[in-house]
């Protein structure tokens, strides 16, 4: 067990392409850290550099205080779980799990004892003498985990270990991975493109985009206080709604009407130029059926026709189309590309709201919707920066002084 420090780590390929730029992460002993981002953001490259499967161009990687930049993977004492499991097909489950120990020249009796123990934890005992080809996807995944845990390495690296499982199994395994990590207390770095996995598993989450770290924080911090448009749009499901807005004479105009500004937000925005275009972000749960809101102060209302209604039982998701163009910025475009909705022309602005199940919203019927103005995030469209970050940080954690 050990801490892992990435100090200004950069990866540049021989053809000049920059995959990862100046990554600084300090992972404490026993911590579960998630690297998350859309495909091509450099998260897997970062993991491979920690593993030693890729060279580090610049910067320093320290495991347990020791610089390991030039150490071969086998000398770093870390185990890795691959997306496609990479089990040795010619070996039984027992041999697969015992392979790292066999290479370390551990005696047979010890190997057997350790493999049995790991098999017990992962419920693989009755499959020990089978070949990987005879196992189900979930079992193969557990064998891959078993191969990592038998030798009690300093750290686990996991590269999208659950992405090949079907949805139900993925949720089950997610819980199991989390329990296993807590039980073993081993430092873990986990790569995923799935923000739900990132939010549920990690002690801390590192959001990456285009080779750059966007934000590092607990799932709660990322959700409540995103530093920029990208993090705001990436974290949360359904994702945050973005509306184009204009700051004029101390008021904020958007396609859903005038948004009243709280004193804190007003102060945060005062620093910026008088009149300007901004992007307003509001999460689905910050909307409510106006009929159900008694105290409408501290917010505003708008009326729109419900496009689509999705009832989840505990919540209702109502989708509205608002006239007037949608918010646009480079970061939002990248998010849209990643989620595969890039070609949905943004002429109309779609808003997703999460309503109380007692709401009387009906598809095709107009509904008056209330929104919580205290929860808005205001972003700079060109830089993507969250102008109200400090306000949100103070609100999310009143005890701590808001940074930056």
């Amino acid at each position: 067990m050990a801490d892992i420090v990435l100090d200004g780590v950069t990866k540049r390929y021989p053809d000049g392409a920059l995959a990862v730029k100046d990554v600084n992460i300090e992972i404490a002993d026993g911590e579960f850290v998630i690297l998350v981002g859309p495909s091509g953001c450099g998260k897997s490259t970062t993991l491979n550099m920690i593993a030693g499967l890729e060279d580090i161009t610049e910067g320093e990687l320290r495991i347990a205080g020791e610089v390991v930049n030039n150490k071969a993977p086998k000398d770093r004492d870390i185990a890795m779980v691959f997306q496609n499991y990479a089990l040795y097909p010619h070996m039984t489950v027992r041999e697969n799990m015992g392979f790292p120990l066999k290479l370390a020249k551990v005696d047979k009796a010890t190997i057997n004892a350790k493999v049995e123990e790991a098999a017990q934890i992962l419920e693989l005992t009755q499959h020990l003498d089978r070949k990987p080809s005879n196992l189900s996807g979930g079992q193969r995944q557990r064998v891959a985990m078993g191969r990592a845990i038998v030798r009690a390495p300093k750290a686990f690296l996991m590269d999208e270990p659950l992405s090949n499982l079907d949805a139900k199994l993925r949720v089950q395994m997610r819980t199991q991975v989390s329990r296993l990590q807590k039980q073993l207390g081993t430092t873990t770095v986990y790569v995923t493109h799935d923000q739900t996995e990132a939010m549920t598993l990690g002690d801390r989450v590192v959001v990456m985009r285009a080779g750059l770290v966007q934000q590092i924080g607990t799932p709660h911090e990322l959700y409540e206080t995103p530093v920029n448009l990208f993090v705001a749009g990436f974290i949360g499901s359904p994702s945050m709604n973005f509306l184009p807005g204009t700051l004029e004479n101390g008021g904020l105009h958007t396609s859903i009407g005038q948004i009243p500004l709280t004193p804190e937000i007003r102060r945060a925005l005062e620093g910026s130029k008088a009149d300007r275009e901004v992007i307003v972000g509001l999460r689905p749960e910050n909307f409510e059926d106006a009929r159900l809101v008694e105290d409408k102060a501290g917010g505003g209302t708008f009326t729109a026709t419900v496009d689509v209604l999705e009832s989840m039982g505990s919540d209702i998701f109502a989708y509205f189309s608002i006239e007037g163009g949608g918010a646009s910025s480079a970061e939002l475009e990248e998010l849209a590309r990643d989620s595969g909705v890039a070609d949905a022309a943004i002429d109309v602005n779609q808003i997703v709201t999460r309503l109380d199940p007692t709401s009387r919203a009906r598809e095709g019927q107009p509904l008056e919707v209330w929104f919580n103005a205290a929860k808005i995030h205001v972003f700079d469209p060109s830089s993507g920066e969250n102008l109200t970050h400090a306000v949100a940080a103070a609100a999310a954690d009143p005890g701590r002084h808001a940074e930056s």
Partner: protein
């Protein structure tokens, strides 16, 4: 898809024709080898030996030259195969795994060698080997055999190596294996079907070669069976050695058949199934 009776009959007839076409000469050879040496001229035209006899087989094994040539054949073919496959395995692995400048050129060149008409190289090789004192030695044959079988071996093997998921090697590295351990314990076992296939192809090539065997040997010190067959003589100079040649041909075909039958299972078995998802 429904298979009509007519289609079935059509295909069966075609299959039977093709198999008969292929096996008829083999049967003719076997039949000939069991005919009495004296009867071949008179008996020659019959499809079936009128009287079965092992005389031809006894005759060829009485010849010290034939036994010696079998030993030469086995020795030369096996050594060439082992060296060629060992070298090709390493080369193919590098080609499949590494990126280096001129890789395409290298593969192209090696294929070019395989396509080169061998007959054009016989005279230069003859002179070279005489100068180097390799003429009429085992290595005098092993070297050209290796040269001509390597390209094909490399090509076949690199196709097999490309099929092996690279992640397995990364996994082995993470599990603490040195590159050579990863190769020996993970990659090579998985490439086994490819290695066996290649070995069979190379062995058959070396075993069957007549051109180099007749050109680069002069005595029983290194003459292989295909070349030795040409030196068979009948009981008298007026007799054709057809029976002995047929018997010897049957004898040298048997090891190849056994070899292929033995390893065919390993070739067919898909060893990589279950390695990765998908």
């Amino acid at each position: 898809m429904a298979v009509t009776a007519g289609k079935k009959v059509g295909w069966s007839t075609a299959n039977i024709l093709v198999v008969a076409w292929a096996l008829f000469p083999v049967w003719w050879l076997v039949s000939l080898s069991f005919k009495k040496p004296g009867n071949i001229a008179t008996d020659g035209g019959s499809f079936w030996p009128t009287s079965w006899s092992l005389e031809n087989y006894r005759g060829i094994f009485k010849l010290g030259e034939f036994v010696r040539s079998i030993l030469n054949s086995i020795g030369i073919a096996v050594i060439s195969t082992v060296i060629a496959v060992a070298l090709a395995t390493m080369a193919a692995y590098a080609i499949a795994r590494l990126r280096f400048p001129g890789k395409g050129l290298l593969i192209g060149m090696s294929l070019l060698i395989a396509m080169f008409p061998q007959i054009s190289l016989v005279s230069p090789l003859f002179s070279i080997e005489r100068t180097l004192h390799l003429f009429d030695t085992w290595f005098g044959l092993i070297i050209p055999y290796m040269t001509f079988s390597l390209p094909l071996a490399i090509y076949t093997l690199s196709a097999f190596f490309r099929e092996i998921p690279w992640d397995l090697e990364k996994a082995a590295k993470m599990d603490g294996a040195t590159p050579s351990q990863a190769f020996r314990q993970v990659i090579a076992p998985l490439a086994a079907p490819g290695i066996f296939t290649t070995a069979i192809l190379v062995l058959i090539f070396c075993w069957n070669d007549f051109l180099f065997a007749i050109s680069l040997t002069s005595t029983t010190a290194s003459r292989t069976v295909p070349a030795e067959l040409g030196f068979f003589t009948g009981a008298s100079q007026f007799q054709q050695p057809a029976g002995s040649i047929a018997a010897a041909s049957v004898i040298i075909t048997v090891p190849i058949i056994i070899f292929v039958l033995l390893f065919q299972r390993r070739i067919v078995a898909g060893l990589t199934s279950g390695a990765v998802k998908g």
